[in-house]
Amino acid sequence: MTDVTARYFDGESARQIDVVVQIGPQNVVVRDEADTVLAVWPPDEVRLAGKPVEGRPLRVGRAKGVAQVVIADPSCLADLERLCPNLNKLRPGIREVWRPIAFWSTVAIASAAFLFLVAIPFAAREAAQAIPPDIEARLGEAAADQITRFFSHTEEAVYCSSPQGDIALRELTQRFVTQVDLPYPLTVRVIKSPLVNAFTLPGGQILIFNGLLDFVEGPEEVAGVLAHEIGHALRRHPMEIFAKNVGAATLIGLLLGDITGGSVIGALVQFTVTASYTRDAERDADADAVDLLNGSGIDGSGLVEFFDRLRAEENSDLQDILAVIGTHPATDERSDFVRTNATADGSAMSVAHWQALKDICGEK
């Protein structure tokens, strides 16, 4: 049992009352100078009203309300800690908590899920169709510039070019382009990189990695891949992904808040999640590829072989292969579709042109 002198604020007025606080195992009792009991607090309801500050009086209150005693001599803290098990817990600000949390969490999660799964993909698709082609073309050029700058400073150091190789690529592209009505002119380039990959940026910027030219076993495979990428460009899929990324980044930024907290991680997550096409988009691009191959009389079995070999390599630990599987998953379904619908059996280019294209980044 300890008695200490203190000042008491009853939570009703700002007036201070000089009191004696009796700290006992049954109760903490506050009495004024006339020995009138002002407050009786059960020990498990006693809380610190603010962390103790060195050299400053100790403030103690009850779990409910804002009444407090201010004890000038902080040495009684040990007694309080011994007798009051919840001393360091916060005074609750709001009483009922779990119902609003449950309700609003559910609504918030439902709302965020709806936005991610329905609203953003739909809006992105609409946006990709609505954006004027010349703006998209400029965006694509900017994206290509970024890539150039990432690898080096000059285009020559990043993209491969040789007189005969360029002609081979241009002629192949021309055979496809004449069949369709593209919203913007295509730019097809070979990028100096050992990765087995090919992708399309907004605005019809198609990039074929040199590693893909080494990986394939005939020009028809390259033709198949190129036709597939033209399909993406035709349907403005890259723009759709770009719009989806912008939407997702905005939403994630809003949800995660601080840049130190989550935005950096969030940006990485959303990049990996949304950087690939949907299954539907791949199927559409495959259908376009088959039409283009048929229309130009090129043998579609090249694309089938490409898919099959990709799948065979899936189990290998080659990092290069993983890159292309990540963005273009090869499935039985896709091979079957191309096999059944491809009707032509012509070659993609002459042997000389194929050799020139393979050596576009220099002879090996």
Partner: protein, 429 residues
Amino acid sequence: MADTVINSGVGGGGQQGERIVGFWGRRGPLFRILLMNSLLGLLTLGIYRFWARTRLRQYFWNSIEIDGDLLEYTGRGLELFIGFLIVVAVLVPLLIGYQFISIFLQTNAPDIFIAVNFLYFIGIFWLTRYAYFRARRYRLARTVWRGIRGGQDGSAAGYAWLWFGYAVLSVITFGWAVPWMTVELQKYEVEHARFGVENFRYDGTGTALLRYWIPCGVALSIVVVAAIVTTVVYWAELQLLFDSATNLGTDPSSIDEDVGTIFAWTYGLIIIAYLILIPFYIYYRIAALRYMISASNLSEVGFVAEFSGWRLVGYWVLYFLVVIGLIAVVVLLVATFGVVAALSGVEEVADPGLAAVGIVLSVIPIILLLFFLPMINLLLFYYPVIRHIATTLRLTDISSLERIVQSSRDDPRFGEGLAAALDVDVGGF
């Protein structure tokens, strides 16, 4: 400073008042809280930020002592979190919905799109003022001194409209309505704030604040008039410039060289004048803060602000120099490692391993900078500024506060979700 605090509760040091506000914060414990907050923020992908903010406020409230009694912050992270959930559930779909409409309008009705976009940005500004007021309400309701809660009455929408009206007026008058705007907004904030049942009062006029605005106002008027005159006189040439910048069809060489020189000079001067504006504006903000404190009363308690404006500027300059220095170091490191990454990635000796190391090493300094910048901001700027303003404050006739009683008005149950979502800054934390 803190040791001059008078612990008697007896007020009335004449008109001048007494320095009875103490500050007991220390940088060490504050740094530990900030470090813990940032680490937990990273681990929880940012969700911890509501609890982090609560801990930070507890520390600052718990460090400020008025007439011998420390403030108490009774807010909880959970309340902020629920407030945030409400915003996610309600506001985010509205914002995304707007994106839909704007996409639709962009293709189908470009004229309406421009108008709607304009309204949208005004709406966002309006919302930030609305959120700011709501955040004040939550904070004051969770501030306890001597067992009595603070409070903020008034309507957040009313405050936001007041702001909007004066913002329009300020634009029309080339900024000369700003002192009246400041005073009216301060008046609304202060007169609707209360301690217990007692409302604060505010005796201020825009005319009194005008003289602090004159340097900034004159400079701003020069800038605006110069910009308008240049634009009107060279309207045709300006359009030509605009066309050549947006349409690749126009030949840039068709623009008269002299006109280009005139533009470069005029707009160059405008930019310089704008930079000159910044110190004038800081001078005004400091004067406005001093004015607000000194124009406020609570019951018979008067407040006299005696902080040194130069000292506040000094803290800011120091903080600014440290940040610039750190950014310079980081840029240097990133450039060094970035070159390593670029070289090993492209050349014939392609070495993906080395490239990856280079990329990682060039990203680490950026992440560290982002991690430590908010801490530096609080430790080097807000901490000394709050300490200085608090400890130099004079209060007159504090004894009259004894009569104030608790208000029974309902407090907001959940906190400031909108302010958190819109990143409204109410004093750094």
